[in-house]
Symmetry: C2
Subunit: 249 residues, 2 copies
């Protein structure tokens, strides 16, 4: 039986890929995915057949991969970060439901909540939520509801797709919702171009984030919201796990 | 300046480690950590100095690593999964605050929400929460509050430390809280010994999970709670991203 591997590459360069991901790419016949992600692995496997499609063509891409597997090839569908978290794994599983002669194998990867968190220090070292502000596939009302619930639950948060040209004010709106349950001094941070050229980050308060002082925040940026115990330590953002309540550190 | 690397190993064997993690272990002088995690890398670096301490000795372990760095060594502190998510990164950063002559570098890894999710299919492919049921460092009331908020927000969830001998009924209690906002038919799953020998998993409803039909669930198990759109597909658990609302798959 032929396999389509849904492969999470991690944030960028080969350095962040697991051996399992590398091996899946190595043993497949064709690598496919969104152009930018295919380009990330082109140099590692120069002799491999590659098939890339532009953004928004996710369904066509998955159908193509499944067809190729039915024709007798093993195919790897590459995703940045993890292949599950807002990745292609679930769409492949959905489309493959009526194709019993192929197998979908999900290969996880380091998602931006983890790789961006490592750049900032340890912002999500306690209970946390991951929320995307993209309303392309999710009604905005549900995103607002989730932000509100996450705020009330004092979760640390990683926010994906925080701002685009079409959705310039979404991060501001999100911060205003969080300010209903969090203090303006809540420590936040963002990391842009994680693990790639031009990686930058900033640490600030929720009030400053809401005031849109950070025009650099875009679709290539992951935003972190601390919980009530999160603090700034020099140029790092850290969320204590609670050892400090048990004894002196 | 000497460095203490907080290194996330991923779920188990070398296969799940990133190259960045491997390189950090390779270039350090000493590898330290909880016995079980140090044992995971002993065979990969047989000539390296190893220092392991039993569980619950986290603060001593971090102090020891920082002292060794001050003595002139580069030290790797290994964690299973990610080094940030319930890992040692934040404790190292806290203890290192008064040691300006050493550096802490956080190396992320594939946390159980991602590696266990890949085993089940794609249970957390949309907005999700990670919640630990361990109340060693977190008041149980706060854990209850977070479960309640996550339930109301229709988040998919990964639950860490779901049950131990001392906390036999915590998962049942958690399910009962979730049943206030979720239907009994909500699709759930669990994976035990992710990426290790004896890996097993099950998919079931929230009602079945609450009824404690699954005695295998222990501290080496990660539990997944679906959102209202999550469904079972054969032997997989998948949370659609919403493409099915836009067009026919």
């Amino acid at each position: 039986m032929n396999t389509v591997y849904a492969v999470g590459l991690g944030p960028g360069s080969e350095e962040y890929m697991t051996r399992q991901a590398w091996q899946a790419l190595d043993k497949c016949d064709i690598i496919c995915g969104y152009t930018v992600y295919v380009d990330l692995v082109r140099d590692i496997f120069p002799d491999k057949e590659m098939f890339s499609t532009p953004m928004m063509k996710e369904i066509d891409r998955c159908r193509w991969a499944i067809e190729k597997a039915e024709e007798g090839f093993n195919v790897a569908m590459v995703c940045s970060g993890d292949s599950g978290v807002y990745g292609m794994a679930t769409l492949l599983l959905e489309i493959a439901e009526n194709h019993e002669n192929i197998e979908i194998e999900v290969v996880p990867g380091v998602t931006a909540a983890l790789s961006g968190g490592a750049v900032l220090g340890a912002p999500i070292s306690h209970d946390f939520c991951v929320i995307s502000l993209s309303d392309l596939l999710t009604p905005w009302e549900l995103i607002e509801k989730r932000l509100d619930c996450a705020g009330q639950g004092d979760f640390a948060m990683a926010i994906y797709n925080p701002r685009s040209k079409k959705r310039e004010d979404y991060l501001k709106k999100a911060c205003e919702i969080l300010l209903k349950s969090r203090t303006p001094e809540t420590i936040c941070g963002w990391v842009k171009n994680i693990g790639r050229e031009g990686q930058i980050y900033e640490i600030m308060t929720l009030r400053e984030l809401a005031d849109e002082k950070y025009k650099d925040v875009d679709m290539f940026t992951t935003v972190f919201i601390g919980n009530s115990a999160t603090r700034r330590s020099g140029n790092r953002m850290l969320t204590p796990r609670g050892y400090d309540r048990k004894c002196e550190l």
